[in-house]
Subunit: 469 residues, 2 copies
């Protein structure tokens, strides 16, 4: 999942109109088929097997890297092997950033190493690294209120802690420091910035993720400390007035490189599209199992299960495995641009990109007058232990360009309680995925996608899709 | 804790003789004072504060390193500050081994990095590293049954899994592969060896620890893979017949360096000694909080609490913070040698070196006829949630040379359930220590040490202490 916010929305109850029972958008035979797909999904390890294959045979797959290219080749072969149609790569370019070495240490008064990782997009320090006195800020807001030039020659340390939440809403706040710390520190003359890792892990895993620079602000290197290392630096600062830290980052930008989205379809009876997605790229530290191998597994297995039933859906089911999500939704933007003229045909779009834990909530983003359709969909997946959420579904990071243009979305929200313990760290590996949870995901997705492909339309009209010029 | 075995001993019940009630070794006023010390310990954070100070102000402190020297300076100052007597360093020499760079990767067919750490004492690979086909062995025994020269040019991978146990008994078995894999692989022509980390962590933390070479067997480099990386290599080997791995270790031995034991005392009324110990050195990956900052905290705070009561014990309480434990009990051996002529004066010896979790069991190693004394001691600490264990107390790794010469020992055994999740990894940091657990440790130790210093002797006569030539 990229830096986009998971906005905290208090779940609200939908008023059930008395006329509700009268309206019916889901034909009984569609529900029956969905229930059958649920059963098949509940006893299938296919989603897990796909993640296993991707994370073992490709492993980490950084945007723009040779490994991401290998992932596209892997996907092409896998999806063609499943018998899906129109399997293809839609290429685009991405700025290729590479991590290189990353070292940090307290130089004085308590010499010892600190565990850090460069943030995505950060400039490097040069081989020799740089050393400066650390100035700690409790929050990004505190850094913003520091005086001009007050950090000249120093290293800013933003020590803000992330809140653990089930719906991931703590991430939105926490990520601001990751995006903004280098700019705010750079404006004030700092030579580098450090942040406490975005994430909830208490283990010694620094957390990477994309950062930003701003025009006319000096570009300074920035890295994240693991939580135990941030604690250590905090303690050192309490004991000694002056703490000097050395930072050495080999990070560099290598110019434009190839990336691409991998697409596969189950052709429908009409030209409407139900888009299901996940992202194929990952950060380079772990093997991208929960972010987002799991989503690749869940959505690809969903397509395969539906295909194997041999029934032609009303709408085309389009699986999109986005490239270069982590570095700024580059694949999502490329998709929206390439398919601009076809956006009105996107009946609904949704992505699986929040790990591998059980789905606990169903969110929709339909027109209010069509909310009864969401209720009908929900009733079918409710037995899987799912509650009804809001009508402000996020849909997933790569759905953003479509959502913003008015495409209907749903979110099959996974339990995010542990997600940020692993996300964007070297500890995001296959062993963290529970097979039973993956089965529940697949059962939910397969039944939901079949229903979306066959429910009576529309779901959304009010915010008209902007037609191309 | 070093490689010595924690032998699994089934707890057995002691027959309570009818004459039991008649014998009494603990004067009532000694018990009363012990109970008071318990109360004081239960509300004191001193043990925690000492670990906090050591792990922050010194951090990692590898045997023979400048950091270990800083730790001795720290200890000297801390123990003198407490008002303890005869505070001194007893220096000795140690072979100084340094880690350097450590990298591994699958080269083919699935190129990706693997997380490894060199085992202590391993030779390096040279800058360029070395590459070889991996041959997996389920256990060290399997490797031992491989044919001569069967591994020529290859990398042996011993994938044995460690069993999680409360008393740490899984470590003894698991550690054999760490000690023996390089020798067994070297005998068979391998160019390097890899092991699944000794330890129980499911996170991406490779586990270091001392390894051994044998005379006349080629010395090959050896490293440990984290559990997720061992899983990954295992999966790769299942999918592809031939997996090539590259290993690059900068490890090197730098010859003799200074180390030392730090000693402090509460002088008693007699020349008998109650030795309490912990070790000051740590591996270099973490900050040595649970191994063995916790022990340093618990035993040093014990001495301070007893000292502050202002009562002169019958026996001298001698605190020994051993140096260079991790690399082969070098400090323990130096102590035993230096105090050879005084060993008969060691009434009892015990060490705290099994983490920071609650004490759950009391083991003794007394003569059978004096077991009623162990029962009396036990009754006083029982209210702290402690059960009675065996009469085969291990005493702690640094107690080994004393125990082997017949000195009585006890073990205040801590709960080791999570110990090997952290032990010898970069994740052994202060945040893993629970303050309440440290209070229970301090309460137990303070009361027990006071009793040991004042109980009627002896505890052990049968295995006579060998007097010096």
């Amino acid at each position: 999942m990229v830096i986009r916010l998971l906005i905290a929305l208090s779940a609200f109850q939908f008023a059930v109109e008395t006329s509700f029972a009268a309206k019916k958008a889901l034909p009984t035979k569609v529900v029956k088929e969905a229930q059958l797909l649920q059963k098949i999904g509940e006893s299938s390890d296919l989603a897990y097997q796909i993640v296993e294959s991707l994370t073992t045979e490709v492993g980490p797959r950084l945007a723009g890297s040779p490994a991401e290219k290998r992932a596209r080749t892997w996907a092409l072969k896998k999806l063609k092997g499943f018998g899906l149609k129109n399997v293809r790569i839609e290429p685009f370019k991405v700025k290729y950033w590479k991590r290189g070495f990353q070292e940090a240490s307290i130089e004085s008064p308590y010499p010892q190493k600190l565990q850090v990782t460069a943030l995505g997009g950060s400039v490097g320090t040069g081989k020799k690294g740089l050393t400066g006195q650390v100035v700690r800020f409790k929050t990004l807001e505190d850094l913003k209120s520091a005086g001009k030039n007050s950090l000249r020659g120093k290293i800013a340390f933003v020590d803000e802690v992330m809140t653990r939440t089930q719906d991931g809403s703590g991430y939105g706040q926490a990520v601001k420091k990751r995006s903004g710390a280098a700019v705010e520190a750079g404006k004030r003359g700092a030579i580098a910035a450090l942040i406490r890792s975005v994430g909830t892990s208490s283990h010694r895993f620094p957390h990477t993720g994309q950062m930003n620079y701003e025009k006319d602000v000096p570009q300074i290197p920035i890295a994240a400390l693991s939580a135990p290392d941030a604690d250590q630096l905090q303690r050192a600062l309490k004991k000694a007035k002056k703490v000097k830290v050395k930072l050495a980052l080999g990070a560099e930008s290598l110019g434009e490189a190839d990336s691409g989205n991998v697409i596969a379809e189950i052709p429908g009876q009409t030209d409407e599209i139900v888009l299901i997605g996940a992202h194929l790229d990952s950060w380079d530290l772990g093997t991208g199992a929960i972010d987002d191998g799991a989503g690749v597994g869940i959505t690809s297995a969903t397509a395969k299960l539906i295909l194997d039933r041999g029934k032609k859906p009303k709408r085309t089911i389009r699986l999109v495995l986005f490239g270069s999500e982590e570095v700024g939704l580059i694949g999502a933007k490329a998709y929206a641009k390439k398919h601009e003229s076809q956006l009105g045909k996107h009946f609904v779009a949704t992505e699986s990109d929040f790990g591998a834990a059980r789905i606990w909530r169903f969110d929709s983003r339909f027109d209010e007058k069509y909310l009864y359709k969401a209720e009908e969909l929900f009733e079918v997946i409710r037995p899987l232990g799912i509650t009804r959420g809001t009508n402000r579904a996020y849909g997933g990071p790569d759905i953003t360009p479509l959502r913003e243009k008015g495409v209907a979305t749903i979110t099959l929200m996974q339990n995010g309680w542990d997600y940020f313990d692993l996300h964007h760290t070297s500890n995001d590996t296959l062993d963290k995925i529970n097979k039973e949870d993956m089965r529940q995901n697949l059962a939910t997705w397969a039944s939901m996608v079949w229903m979306l492909a066959n429910i009576d339309g529309p779901l959304k009209e009010e915010e008209k899709v902007i037609t191309p010029k």
